[in-house]
């Protein structure tokens, strides 16, 4: 019964995992990151003690796994560059998440952000309140509010720029 509950909870969080993987991974690598986050959520399930909501806890695991993935990928690329080897995965330009034009603009904007900003923006996209964003990231709710509103302004400018281009 417990096993079935764990699976049901994981399944309910599946779309969010996919979005976080797409926000962090490069094109063609989001399926790998998606799997990695799911495996990590499954392995860490015993650490969930019910003090916070399941989704808050799951967002923490997902973001931490994604941030570690980005760091590892950067090392891997630098090593390949150092060894003068070609990164074969670069050849793949498709993503497992079929993005509409509007969603593609979000993905492009995410790629311009650093890790901390991307975490905030990803949680804002998920529709989390500032108190929960601060619970996931470990910063104050006031700081989350200030930074998210700056990111929204930045995103608005990005959207305007995109509209001018097309």
């Amino acid at each position: 019964m417990r096993h079935a509950d764990d699976i049901a909870r994981l399944e309910s969080f599946l779309p969010a995992v996919r979005r976080i993987a797409s926000a962090y991974a490069s094109y063609g690598e989001d399926a790998d990151l998606h799997q990695e986050i799911l495996a990590q959520l499954w392995r860490s399930r015993r650490h969930f003690n019910g003090q916070a909501q399941y989704s808050t806890w799951a967002y923490r695991v997902a973001l931490n796994t994604a941030i570690d993935h980005v760091r590892r990928e950067r090392h891997r690329r630098e090593t390949l560059k150092h060894l003068q080897l070609v990164d074969r995965r670069k050849a793949t330009v498709e993503t497992s998440l079929h993005l509409s034009r509007e969603a593609q603009v979000i993905k492009a904007f995410c790629d311009t952000l650093d890790v901390a900003e991307r975490s905030l923006f990803a949680l804002y996209l998920e529709g989390l309140e500032y108190a929960r964003i601060s619970e996931v990231l470990g910063i104050s709710a006031g700081a989350s509010r200030t930074r998210v509103s700056r990111l929204k302004k930045k995103f608005k400018r990005h959207l305007e720029g995109e509209a001018l281009e097309h």
Binding site: I7, L10, E11, L14, P15, A16, R18, R19, Q35, L38, A39, Q40, W42, R43, S44, H47, W57, R60, V61, L63, N64, I67, D68, R71, R74, H75, E78, S96, L97, H98, L99, S100, R101, E102, A103, V105, I106, D114, V115, A116, S119, L120, L125, E135, V136, L137, G138, I139, S140, G142, A143, S144, T146, R147, K152, F155, K156, L159, E162, A163
Partner: protein
């Protein structure tokens, strides 16, 4: 195109993909269990192999110096593994808040970096002493044996030095990246105070 409509489009894209591709929990669970099972099998094989090795050494009529040398090698390796586990820690941190996880990862990297920096005291010195003890008690006296031994040790030392350099460079880059992440997260807090 405004912020909210883009956000809705982003959410809709993932819902649609999740429905289309499906999700196989049994496959995920099987894969996780396979990883744990292979780690247990490899560790068990290493323990059994080292047990056989020790039994062979003891049954093979080795003299006291050789047995002591092998004991030094075995205890150095065990101590090194224990130190790496202690520096790395066995507690998972991915379920912690992002800032706490970054801090924990940074602490882990700093401890591992210090361990690698002091590797010559922890690893090279006892290993060198053990090899000298083995060479002293060796029964082989032919020049080909010496050439073979010198070449093997040379290749081993070169490999370990190169490997250490690579690991150290990786650790350094990792520490810098983690410091940058922690600083950026803390800067968000600082900017709020300033505003």
């Amino acid at each position: 195109m405004n912020i909210e409509s883009s956000r809705q489009a982003w959410i809709a894209a993932s819902e649609e993909t999740a429905q289309r591709t499906g999700f196989s929990p049994s496959q995920l669970i099987r894969r996780t269990r396979m990883r744990i099972a292979s780690a247990i099998i490899i560790a068990s094989m290493a323990v059994v192999a080292s047990g056989f090795g020790m039994a062979l050494i003891l049954a093979g009529g080795f003299d006291v110096i050789e047995i002591l040398a092998w004991c030094v090698i075995a205890s150095t390796l065990v101590a090194l593994i224990a130190l790496v586990i202690r520096a790395h820690g066995i507690r998972q941190t991915r379920h912690l808040r992002v800032l706490d996880h970054v801090d924990a990862a940074l602490g882990r990297t700093i401890r591992l970096e210090a361990l690698i920096r002091n590797l010559h005291w922890l690893f090279w010195s006892p290993m060198l002493i053990a090899f000298l003890m083995l060479a002293y008690s060796s029964e082989y006296r032919h020049w080909t044996d010496y050439t073979f031994a010198a070449t093997s040790i040379g290749v081993l030392v070169w490999g370990l030095i190169y490997g250490r350099e690579c690991v150290q460079a990786r650790m350094e880059a990792d520490r810098e990246a983690l410091q940058e992440q922690a600083t950026r997260l803390r800067r968000i807090e600082g900017q709020e105070d300033a505003s």
